[in-house]
Symmetry: C2
């Protein structure tokens, strides 16, 4: 990693050259680089924490002057209980994931001795813009190297000392490995971003990790593809038939377990026939968890009649803008709808297409909802907070995408790869095929290392019986 | 399909609403719409050809005045031998492809009764900008409907009468089907494009089908993701060890069979040790096919010494800009390189990352080339003209992408789809898992309709013996 003051063009060009070399390194060479980074950061802990202390002192001053929130100051602190060790472990976790590149994902015999393969490969050069949290730099570096991508990193200024210390250690560690150090570059000045965003022939993908404003700014000022989400306005539609106890468990988790998360619940839609049956218990539980409820007229009226006077006094009327807003706080907007179709229509119009849920015992309503809601993740009877790469089993995540192309929902290592088509032949040419000429075979071939597949009902039966033990004797045939 | 003069915002909003309805139609309903369009266009042939005649007359006038090329006039002509019938057949071909949406592509047991599925779905609303060829409108409409996407279409002005006639027929046909007519809208005025390109919250993907200038203009003026290729600068590296006869066959096909194609060869790199062995025969064959050769100093000198005087007189010296140019004509730039590494480096710098080939008998050189060349398609011993969706076995293609995300190389129906994550549970919530709580199972499940896979060496052995007959008795176990 180089900590660079080079021009944006030099940064991008050297990252591009580095990316070509990185792309052809073996799994072992890329993993060895991650091992080296882990070791160096473990040994350099004191150095990084000292730098982090400088950032914290500056942040404390800024916070005292009202220029920075206390929650942001907390997020800067790398010295907190186990945070540094988690960062180190994260590097090894990424190292130990399956290599996402050089996997053959399809193979077709186009004609005799003419074989088309699709092979996964790195995207190339990533531009990753992130906000204050200093541990992100280690996480992103690990993900980029594991997937064979070069990365240009730009972090928030509040963490600049921590970033510089981590970058210097990573840079030194990489110099002992096969990975060119230009593959990871930390740019230090903010004013380079606008110029980097113009370099769409050198940078292949931009991942802004931060708030709505950052993502919008990036999208509006670049021809580089952008992966990310601007908002997390998640909705849950509670049907009248759903048991109150389960509804409380799910909705309280979705709203309260981490209100600042992009997968936190922001809007509760309630079926009108449930206004006085299931809603009051849910509202009571939310109020007891400290959640402010902003209710539409129908739900406000129903809750005022059913809740005790103390709770009812806490209710607030909603305004129309509450249904297009990401609170990121203990605030929930409630809206009454007549049907699953009205819920679907509201969500498709007002949610941010991140994660939306239905709570119902009726499979027909659930299936209609799951099919028609146009969001990255759609849930039946569970909490929107489940939307997370680690929970989905990806091992880690780059972020959550509300894009409609490439990668949608939690993005794991696979989202940092693309593929190339490889065609191997023996002097076949295009003009030989088609009208009056040779025919294409287009026969699907097994991919290397692919599992043996049972191709007929009979073969499936053989496997089934073998697994259930009734075919155990087969090994003696 | 509506032939619309509505405002860009109205067009995009109604396409968005239409796309929601289209996305939940069954395979049969979408296929029935394609059948209806096919039938209507077959019956309306005279009407379309009459409109096409108006376009042709205007084009002939423009060509006579020097404002339009004769090759463009030819491409406008829908009445030419079998062209209309090919267009009609294309609709049925697309209809009969496998449905690309609603396919479960992965399924994971996160915990008991908590199942995560990844299901393919349409992208949403496509904006497709294409140049003159009138039959493209039928092709694109078929691809969009088959994949469940709404499409806003803008064609070149030279085909406006043909487009209007086809759009009116498709519109009438759709009104008898389950597909909302707003799902296909042909916009007629050119000045709406700039406004449409601003609507990135309503339009999900833009596909410009046309020249470099169009693609560049689109990329530079929108936050909508763009799928396509700006240039087709394809290179072939000819090694000294490759037999001249096969080299001639491949290189003549790549250059001559369709010089205006984006997959046509534009640059031949020759290994220096082959300058006087394999190159002269290849150059002679190209000259005999009418190709102008623009040679670097080394190849010019070698060919001047080895070719007969008449042929040698046809050779031209190249200029540096010839190695960054798409000729789209019977012109080929030749460059001498010392090694496979120099060829790789030249191609990664000067090709348009579309399709590049190596011709060699040496597997080590070939593999190095295939791994290191960063192009959508990389070939060993075959013609760059093979880069085509039909040839790759996709049935059809939307176009060829040199993007580094989503879809690369020839784009089939799969490139018009994305996926959503569906999580079905029974009131599990995020706070139950993790430190001190429940553990994730993250167990891969078979996807519906997926083949049974032999998971262990033992199971593979069982299948193997069953197939070779030695386990045939197993059915009686």
């Amino acid at each position: 990693m180089s900590l660079t003051n080079a021009t944006p063009l030099e940064v991008a060009q050297s990252a591009r050259v580095g990316s070509r070399k990185l792309a052809v390194l073996s799994t072992e060479e890329r993993n060895a680089a991650l091992t080296a980074i882990h070791k160096a950061l473990a040994e350099g802990k004191d150095e990084v924490l000292a730098a982090n202390k400088s950032d914290l002192e500056a942040a404390d001053k800024a916070a005292a002057g009202g220029h920075l929130s206390q929650s942001l100051v907390k997020r800067l602190d790398l010295g907190k209980k186990g945070k540094y060790e988690d960062m180190l472990q994260g590097i090894l976790d990424v190292r130990d994931l399956e290599d996402p590149i050089n996997k053959i994902t399809s193979r077709t015999l186009l004609d005799d001795n003419l074989i088309l393969s699709r092979k996964t490969c790195p995207i190339g050069v990533l531009l990753i813009i992130f906000e204050a949290r200093p541990e992100v730099i280690a996480n992103i570096s690990a993900l980029a190297l594991k997937s064979g991508n070069a990365a240009i990193l730009k972090g928030g200024k509040e963490s600049s000392h921590s970033f510089a210390a981590i970058a210097s250690i990573i840079s030194h560690a990489l110099s002992t490995t096969a990975v060119p150090s230009d593959c990871l570059q930390l740019v230090q000045t903010h004013d380079v971003i606008a110029d980097l965003l113009k370099l769409d022939t050198l940078i292949d993908l931009c991942i802004p990790r931060g708030g709505n404003k950052l993502v919008r700014m990036v999208k509006d000022s670049t021809a580089i593809p952008v992966l990310g989400h601007a908002d997390g306005i998640c909705c849950t539609y509670l049907c009248a038939d759903y048991p109150a106890e389960k509804a409380i468990k799910i909705i309280v988790d979705a709203k309260v377990s981490y209100p600042a998360g992009c997968n936190a619940l922001e809007q509760l839609l309630i079926e009108s026939s449930g206004l006085t049956t299931v809603l009051p218990a849910v509202a009571q539980a939310l109020l007891e968890s400290g959640v402010s409820l902003r209710c539409d007229a129908a739900s406000l009226s129903a809750l005022q009649k059913t809740l005790d006077p103390h709770s009812a006094a806490l209710l607030q009327p909603s305004s129309p803008s509450d249904y297009d807003f990401e609170f990121l706080d203990l605030v929930l907007a409630i809206k009454t709808v007549e049907s699953v179709d009205e819920a679907i229509s509201h969500i498709n119009t007002h949610s941010s297409h991140h994660t939306d849920a239905i709570l119902t015992l009726d499979p027909e309503h659930a299936n209609r909802f799951l099919a028609a809601v146009d969001s990255s993740s759609v849930y039946w009877n569970t909490s929107t907070r489940m939307a997370d790469g680690q929970r989905y089993g990806f091992g880690t995540e780059v972020g959550i995408s509300t894009n409609k192309i490439h990668s949608r929902g939690p993005v794991g290592l696979e989202g940092l790869t693309i593929y190339k088509w490889i065609l191997e032949g023996d002097a076949q040419v295009s003009a030989e095929y088609g009208a009056g000429g040779k025919s294409w075979k287009h026969e699907k071939l097994a991919v290397e290392g692919e599992e043996w597949v049972a191709r007929s009902e009979e073969e499936k039966d053989v496997l089934r019986r073998f697994r259930t033990g009734r075919g155990a004797g087969l090994t003696d045939v």
